[in-house]
C-alpha cells in the first residue's frame, strides 16, 4: 500500500467520522428542541449543537470534495454559519429576555438544608 492510498483512506475515515459526529449533534439538537420543557433550554439545545454540528458536516464535505473551488465555497458557507448562527441565537435570547420572558425554573427555589425544621428530614 503506497503512501497516497494511506492518505486517501485517512481522509475517508476523517470525513466519515466528522460527518457522523455532526449528524449526531444536529439530531441531538433537534430532539432537544422538541423535548425540552422551557424556551431557554430549547434555545440552548438548538444554538449550541447547531453551530458545531453544521461546522463538522461542512468539514466532512470539504474533505470529500476534490476541486479547490468547491472547497472554497464550502468553507465560505461554513464561515458564514460560524458567524451568523451564534449571533442569531443571541438575538433571539436577548429579545425574549427583553420581552419579559422568564425561565420556568426561575421561581423554583429549593430550601437550603440549614433552614429545614427537623434534621431527620434532610435525607
Amino acid at each position: 500500500m503506497s503512501w497516497v492510498e494511506i492518505g486517501q483512506h485517512l481522509l475517508f475515515a476523517l470525513s466519515v467520522g466528522s460527518m457522523a459526529l455532526g449528524l449526531m449533534l444536529v439530531l441531538a439538537g433537534a430532539i432537544g428542541v422538541i423535548r425540552m420543557p422551557d424556551f431557554y433550554t430549547r434555545l440552548h439545545a438548538a444554538g449550541v449543537t447547531d453551530t458545531l454540528g453544521a461546522e463538522l458536516i461542512i468539514f466532512g464535505l470539504i474533505l470529500q470534495s476534490g476541486d479547490w473551488q468547491t472547497m472554497a465555497k464550502l468553507a465560505l458557507v461554513g464561515l458564514l454559519l460560524f458567524l451568523t448562527s451564534p449571533t442569531a441565537t443571541h438575538a433571539v435570547a436577548n429579545a425574549a429576555h427583553r420581552a419579559g420572558q422568564m425561565p420556568d425554573l426561575a421561581h423554583f427555589r429549593p430550601k437550603h438544608p440549614r433552614d429545614l425544621k427537623d434534621p431527620e428530614a434532610k435525607a
Binding site: G29, I34, I58, V77, L81
Partner: protein
Amino acid sequence: MDTLNFIVALGMAGAMAIMLARLFAGPTLYDRVLAANSFGTKTVLFLLVFSAIAGRQDAIDIALLYALINFVATIAILKFFRYRSLEIALAQMSLRRAVEGEFDE
C-alpha cells in the same frame, strides 16, 4: 461515500420535520423564531449534502444565499416584533428612547 451522504441528508430531513413541529406547536413567538432559524440552518446543510450527492455545484451557491437570507430574516422578525416597525435603523432606536426618557439598561 454516497451512502454516508444519503444518511446525512435523511437525518437533515428528519431534523427539519422536527423543527417544523416546534414551529407550529411553539407556545411563544420566540420558540417559533428559534425553530425557523434552526430550520434554515438545517436547510443549508441539506442543500450542501444534496450538492455532494447529485454532483451539482450550483446547489452550494443556493445554500450560501439561503444562509444569508436566513440570518437577515431572523434579525428582521425580531426587530419588527420588538419595535413594531421596520422603518428606523436599530442604532437610532436606542437614541430615540434615551431622548424620550426611557433609558436602555
